[in-house]
């Protein structure tokens, strides 16, 4: 849209990836004179906001300078040899598939930094918190920006240690076990993924994603492709997470601090699905075709399983935790993403990418809202929450904190996929793709998957409405009732949530903003890679 010089674009992309890393190192140093602020804690949290803000601005500039008339082309590319011995190149670039995820990551991390500036993370020192947050940002941004298999693996691994510490140091009850479960599951998956990446790289003679994609698996035998897809797919499926490899997710979400949950759901999970689209689909299409029906089957089981788990948690007396519920709902939503990818059609993959971004926005918002609810009421337990209302009819947020209640209802409705909001398009396109899968895939099987998936949307609507009923509604307290009043949405919360709300509505009403970016890139990818 805005004409920016290509070398400036290159610098912008490298800047976006590197600045958080430098910022992380700087966060550990004492603040320079003049930037000391009111206290060391305040100074370092402000540092976090500044760095993530700068990164967000750079990412927006990158998006503005991105040539929207040819989103299928890699833009802002840098290609430097780093480790010739392993043929690892610092190859960076963005296209229509990675750009939305890059901007989403920068946005969510900035909002998280903003949130922690106003709500001090309880637990360890803010210094470490900010440093870890920034390392996490580098890892996630890098995994969306790199075009080299081994660098992708490096970026993929970079997020493990920061997230482990974010959960283990700043988390809630059961954080230690949850953090271990997260790091061990993900590492086991990613090491297996490394084996697959090495197999592809060694057999094809290059680790470069662009070359591999334009080669479209022609230099790999079907056996190699099958083994590689199995290994890489397992690693990515743990991260996504795909049922039945999801069991680390609910624990991690429940124990993580608000910021950790937002980033985990909003960004980290996307790395898994992004890997499917960026690496497996173009580089090993024949291998992927073998596993696609199984992936689709697991995906729809995940959709139904996640919804049923949520329904069970939302029941009265189930002692369901709201964060755990949203985590299970993520399993369901990511099921739609995987279903879309498994159709191997442009429609399905576009839907998957759309659902990816929509889930990041909506679930990020949901975790922020639940975090705010916890700050006010001290609990995320549904039963305790609804028992706080008058005669235990419900938490009555509409009455006690109308704006907060309204936002929660908005997020829940967006999450269940109401037309007109972001959650709708991705799931509809994924199902639509399953209606007519790629040639070579069994259509009857996919029709069954589609039917089961569609049934899942009903279940999703059911549990989210139950949540709204139990948390937002209820008999409004009168002055005589002994119900504590809740603070309504504060200024900084309003600032942190508004972008998410606006984007959710925008993507819902004007899906072309996203689809226009992803569609040409997806068409190209399925037909033989970006040029």
């Amino acid at each position: 849209m805005i004409d920016i010089n290509e070398s400036v674009m290159q610098a912008l992309l490298a800047f976006v990836v590197l600045i958080p890393l430098i910022g992380a190192a700087a966060a550990l140093l004492p603040a320079p004179p003049g930037l000391k602020g009111k206290s060391p804690e305040q100074a370092v949290l402000r540092h976090g906001v500044t760095v993530t803000g700068v990164v967000l601005l750079a990412a927006l500039a990158l998006a503005a300078g991105f040539d929207h008339s040819r989103p299928q082309t890699m833009q802002a590319t840098t290609d430097i040899s780093w480790i010739p011995a392993l043929d690892v190149r610092i190859h960076l670039g963005v296209d229509g598939i990675s750009l939305p995820l890059l901007v989403l990551t920068a946005l969510l991390t900035f909002l998280c930094a903003l949130h922690s500036y106003f709500v001090r993370p309880p637990g360890g020192s803010p210094k470490g918190f900010v440093a870890l947050l920034l390392v996490l940002e580098t890892g996630t941004l890098a995994s969306f920006a790199v075009l080299d298999l081994l660098l992708f693996f490096l970026a993929f691994e970079t997020v493990l240690i920061p997230m482990y510490f974010l959960i283990a140091r700043w988390g809630g009850a059961g954080r230690s076990a949850a953090a271990w479960k997260f790091v061990l599951f993900t590492l086991l998956g990613s090491v297996v993924m490394l084996l697959g990446l090495l197999l592809i790289g060694i057999k094809a003679g290059t680790f470069d994603m662009v070359t591999l994609a334009s080669d479209n698996g022609r230099s790999l035998t079907v056996t190699t492709q099958v083994v590689a897809v199995l290994a890489i797919g397992l690693g990515l499926a743990v991260k996504t997470p795909m049922w039945p490899l999801h069991s680390w997710l609910p624990d991690a979400h429940t124990a993580a601090p608000t910021v950790g949950s937002v980033l985990l759901a909003g960004v980290l999970l996307k790395m898994g699905t992004y890997g499917f689209v960026r690496i497996l689909l173009p580089a090993a299409p024949e291998g992927f075709e073998v596993f696609a029906p199984y992936l689709a089957a697991f995906a729809v089981v995940g959709i139904v399983y996640g919804s049923l788990a949520c329904l069970a948690l939302a029941r009265k007396g189930a002692k369901g935790d709201l964060k755990r519920l949203i985590a299970y709902s993520s399993v369901g939503h990511m099921g739609f993403v995987l279903l879309g990818i498994a159709t191997m059609t442009p429609t399905g993959v576009n839907g998957a990418l759309f659902a990816n971004v929509a889930h990041g926005l909506i679930t990020g918002l949901l975790f922020f809202l639940v975090g705010a609810l916890k700050d006010r009421t001290g609990t995320t337990d549904l039963d305790t929450l609804s028992a706080q209302g008058v005669r235990a009819t419900g938490a009555a947020l509409y009455g006690r904190a109308p704006r907060l209640g309204g936002l929660l209802a908005f997020a829940a409705v967006a999450s269940l996929g109401l037309p007109g909001l972001a959650g709708f398009w991705g799931e509809m396109l994924a199902l639509f793709g399953a209606f007519d899968p790629a040639a070579g895939l069994s259509r009857p099987a996919y029709l069954v998957f589609m039917a089961v998936g569609a049934f899942g949307t009903l279940l999703t609507a059911a549990y989210l409405l139950v949540v709204v009923r139990r948390v937002c509604m209820g008999e409004p307290p009168r002055e005589t009732d002994d119900v504590p009043l809740l603070a309504d949405v504060r200024g900084h919360e309003f600032a942190a949530w508004t972008p998410l709300v606006v984007l959710t509505v925008l993507a819902g009403l004007w899906p072309k903003v996203l689809l226009g970016l992803t569609d040409p890139a997806v068409q190209q990818l399925l037909a033989g890679g970006p040029r």
Partner: protein, 582 residues
Amino acid sequence: MSALAAESVVQSVDWTAVAPPTLTAVAALVVLVADLFLPERRKAVMGWITLAALAAGLLLLLPLLDGDRATFCLTADPGVCSYVADRFTVAVQLIVLGGALLAALLSVTALKDEARRLPAGEYWFLLLSSAAGAALLPASRDLATLIVALEVASLPAFALVGLRHGDRRSSEAALKFFLSSVTATAVSLLGVSFVYAVTGSMHLTVVAEEIQQVDGQFAALARAGVVLTLVGFAFKTAAVPFHFWVPDTYTGAPLPVAAYLSVTGKAVGFTGLILVTLLAFPSYAPVWGPVLALLAALTMTAGNVGAMRQRPDREHSAVRLLAWSSVGQAGYLLVPVAAAAYTDEPARAIGSTLAYALMYAAVNLGAFTVVALVGRARPTGRVDDHRGLYAARPVTALLMAFFLLCLAGLPPGIVGLFAKVTVFATAVEAGMGWLAVVMAVNVVIALVYYLRWTALLFRPAEAGAGAALAAGAVPAAQPVSVAASAGAGAAGSGRALSGAVPGAASGTDATAIPDAVSGPGGTPAPNAAASAGTSPAGIAPEPAALPGAAPLTVALAVTGLLALALSAAPQLILRFTGVALF
């Protein structure tokens, strides 16, 4: 060579090529003699001589970088040499001499701290002799020199392990080390003699040719010779089932010696193994390939499971854990050697071993340095003693975290990650998927104990003290803690704990007698536990306050900078995978 002596032909010697081990050996003799004439208070000079000699030895590697020198060649056949300084040799000598130099830096402080119990002269002599043998080993290209070098590297090491006066654990460790090592050497000598019997030569290249044309009746003898020779070298790498001596030996030995053994000892073992397998018995690849692959899988699994099972609150658990982890790392080092049996480019696979060994040497010595630093303040040597290190010494703690994550192979330890990636790549390239999967599982197991330790560094110290008290302390640590807490009581007040002598501070972590901690108020025991838990006690004052830590700081700086530089440019070590080594 014996045949040549009869012809009385004098071989010309390329002194530049043999300079690094020669200089080290000469320095050893100089130190031995100097010990006789130096007065007690000047003994420290020998330490500086050792450091200077090892540093000079490293510098003497510079002219050899081209890797095209050979000497002690047969006059009849100049292509067959006993001493070759190729790139492989230079790389291993870099590991060996660099490792010895850093171990010597650690030793300077250790000798000062334990002046009564460690005789300085003997110590430096033995260290230099062992280093000389280890530096000779990668260059030797005949079986006799190989065995001699191996023994020169090992024999002083036994003595170093048992050198501490009046320490039963130290003597026991030395005896264990000695007995198992000597048995292994005897076995491999037997193997060498069989090989000599069937091939009629000691030179590796000649053996490689001759052993393919062995008479049918001697085939069994040749095979037995090959297997027995390998057994000896497998012991040196501490491969399963020859790994049991490692944890006891490392914990019994003075800490710098353990650090030295963990790096140089490993290098000696895998170098010998590479030379024997690739240069002498390449035609037996179908025999040793699967055996080494199995050994690698067993070794890494045994080592990592052993390390994971170490309880962080046991005495000496830090060194014990590093010992077990070094067994696990030896398993990774063996993977490319095994893979070399299956590929057309064995040198490329060996390059991965070298790259990994270089990474491991720098990082592991760094970790040992931090353990030594912490151990000066808290002699119990537990992993738990590292709790709260970040609050006390942020830079040391960050470096330690970096070292541990490099060992685990996870970002930010980028060099560790890529070293592991090359090892994985050799396994995948050789088609040994099962070994790669075993290694993948091992990487996850290893992460458990490395990350547990890393997390401990950043945990607040006071919570640790409280937890340890609540858990009822550790029986093993009781004698120390009783003495320490008694000392704290004598100091007069509970608050004094925070500033008390380091030994006492470590005692508060483990003490089983809360009364001694409670101070003058006579607080009831449970409260004492609670107050100790919340008071700023439990973290050692800056160990830098102790004199003589400068060499440790230097060692830490060197290893830290090395690890950081390698992380920024892994190509520095990974280049070995791309060059002709032999």
